[in-house]
Symmetry: C2
Subunit: 389 residues, 2 copies
């Protein structure tokens, strides 16, 4: 196993990855899907477990919009809040670190250690900001390939991810079929719906309309906090479902203990009253602002919108015919951002062109976010998938 | 029939109500549901048809968030774009102006001739702006009652409306059961879901976060155009459905003829590309800004959120037990803002306490907006409802 600790990592925020052994790998340049060479590129990553001599027991975990390389926390392996797929990773767990070398890297465009819009452009000495190129899911995957090669991986036993991470897993299967044994595509589809693109664009507009955004040229810590908080409020609605919000909040007023000190992004007083659901969204908005870069949000959410697995191929079928990996598609009953019917449809299309695709559905009220919540159902599905040859 | 033309009407914009014979009625004060007396109150209204000597052939039409009194246009009665329920109103139509005296007034809090936040507070000589009181659907209905009495109406043969207009219709039936013969509650429920409140609050935050909002104290024509346009973008998503947006836009790029001159609210260049759905939403956002007051948007959308038919009664059942009108509840299959299941549930609750409630569902992919689109289905349902004793 080759792991090169290049330098202490400066991440956008430190509260997310405290006590974390994070590494970086930097390479000179990456050809981008939309044209041009971009570089240098640094990817921040973490690994758990040990790579075998054959270099074929690696699992790559791919993260979602505001995620990071911190999918697992060895110090607190049972706390789902300190690492985003924590309960699924570890000895004896679906991503079994006693047998596999599990890798998770912050995506290209991110702000948790990898090169993104907040990184310093070595040619100018200033952050890239909106001079960062438009990147795609395919670009993220190409960069990840460079990383896994650097780590000595000859073949990935599995690539797995949810949401934008699911798009990456699918893209791995299509772009590098010979390098991937199994693939788990969770809560992701061949391409976003018009509705999902629309929500995504409203989120970006709230960021770009904030005068503190300054065409992206804000100083660190002085970004469009209001716009990003509102974007997050909207995103949180789309990550949940009518059903789960009704169960959780209904028309309740907030517990005074919970609303104390929580302010709306605009800071204007409540109009008549404050509902618990509003208070929750204010809290979530303020919380993201502390840990995420607004320009990264713009670029990664745009990559999500632009993703179309068939891009560059004569047809969707031609793209899917490339898949040779054993693939598990996981839909979520109540997901309206990546509707389960579309995930199922994609699995059927893969089978229709001769691919080995299975589909299961998480029976969850939690909407898109179920891929970060339904530990028991995900564990069962993944262990079953692992057992298959 | 008593109709008093008080003065030429100044509306927030004129493009909506050109060639319209709009009247106003002003009364001194209105006790508000949340306390206090507010006044003077002016309601702008239009009427079609003639009130009979008994004063009992009137139909009150109640409008939605950004609507106006211009439900019908006698000059262009066949164009659904020039008046919001145009095809349903006229001789021989469901709201039959050869038999009924049809009234539609701009709601309290509106900006199309009635008293709202943009109106001049006579005590200060300046617009009310955010000194406008928090108003409720019940307040709107109380104001409408004053208007219909002024017009000589002794009993309303029918009250009908969709969305916030449906909330008003329901509130009429509960507050003034003795004054209403039949009621049509379309695409409205007993109270909004947590998800709908959440969307609504995101919309308000985008308005209030716009620096041009200035705590509501903007000069006419200098308001938060960016914030209001983004709010409208989001609202338009919630008025439609995943299904209809997919059919209409999919992942198409815009026709160059349609995108020419259309800019995003932030005016920042497209990130990689522009999807047709984005272009459409930009257009809709810019379009609302030209005809609607941002503070009105805040107050009316908040009234929608706050609405709970049971408020002030010991229980929902106690409120619904007051209904003596014959009631038609109309749900829309694809509506996710006011889900059909909730409309149906409300009709069942009314029946459960002995009320005369029917439920029908518009089989439409168009989401909430179907109540402004599905003319044939609505006509059929309303004519059938009219025929019943």
């Amino acid at each position: 196993m080759v792991v090169q600790l290049e330098r202490p990592v400066e991440v956008y925020t430190t509260n997310l990855v405290s006590d974390t052994m994070m590494y970086t790998y930097t390479f000179d340049s990456l050809p981008l899907q939309r044209g041009g060479l971009f570089g240098p590129v640094t990817l921040a990553y973490e690994t758990w477990g040990t790579l075998n001599a054959e270099g074929d027991n690696a699992i790559l975990i791919t993260h979602a919009l505001t995620g990071s390389s911190h999918a697992h926390d060895v110090e607190r392996p049972d706390d789902p809040k300190v690492a985003w797929w924590n309960p699924l990773i570890g000895p004896g767990r679906p991503f079994d670190t006693s047998r596999y070398f599990v890798i998770c890297s912050n995506i290209l465009g991110g702000c948790a250690g990898s090169t993104g819009p907040a990184s310093i452009d070595p040619h100018t000495g200033r952050p890239y900001a909106m001079d960062f190129p438009v990147i795609t899911i395919r670009d993220m995957v190409h960069a990840q390939r460079r990383l896994v090669e650097h780590l000595g991986v000859r073949k990935l036993a599995m690539v797995a991810g949810g949401s934008i991470g699911g798009q990456q897993a699918l893209e791995w299967a299509v772009t590098y079929p010979e390098l991937v044994g199994k693939v788990v595509v969770m809560a992701a589809t061949a391409a976003l719906t018009a509705q999902a693109v629309a929500f995504s664009e409203v989120e970006r507009q709230t960021i770009m309309a904030d005068p503190r955004w300054q065409n992206g040229n804000y100083a660190p810590g002085e970004g469009p906090t209001t716009g990003l908080a509102i974007a997050r409020m909207l995103a949180m609605i789309t990550y949940q479902s009518e059903e789960t919000m009704e169960m959780r909040f209904g028309r309740n007023l907030p517990d005074p203990c919970r609303s104390d000190g929580v302010s709306s992004p605009s800071h204007y007083p409540d109009l008549g009253t404050r509902f618990d659901v509003e208070n929750y969204l204010y809290y979530q908005g303020a919380s993201l602002v502390r840990r995420f870069d607004a320009n990264s949000y713009l670029y990664i959410s745009r990559a999500m919108d632009l993703y179309d697995v068939s891009e560059g191929y004569p047809s969707l079928e031609a793209a899917l015919r490339r898949l040779t990996s054993k693939t598990l598609f996981v839909g979520i009953r109540s997901d309206f951002l990546f509707p389960a019917a579309h995930v199922r449809w994609l699995a059927e299309r893969v089978r229709a062109v001769g691919g080995d695709a299975q589909y299961i559905e998480l029976d969850s009220p939690h909407g898109h976010d179920a891929f970060l919540k339904e530990w028991d159902q995900m564990t069962a599905a993944l262990i079953d998938f692992n057992r298959q040859p």
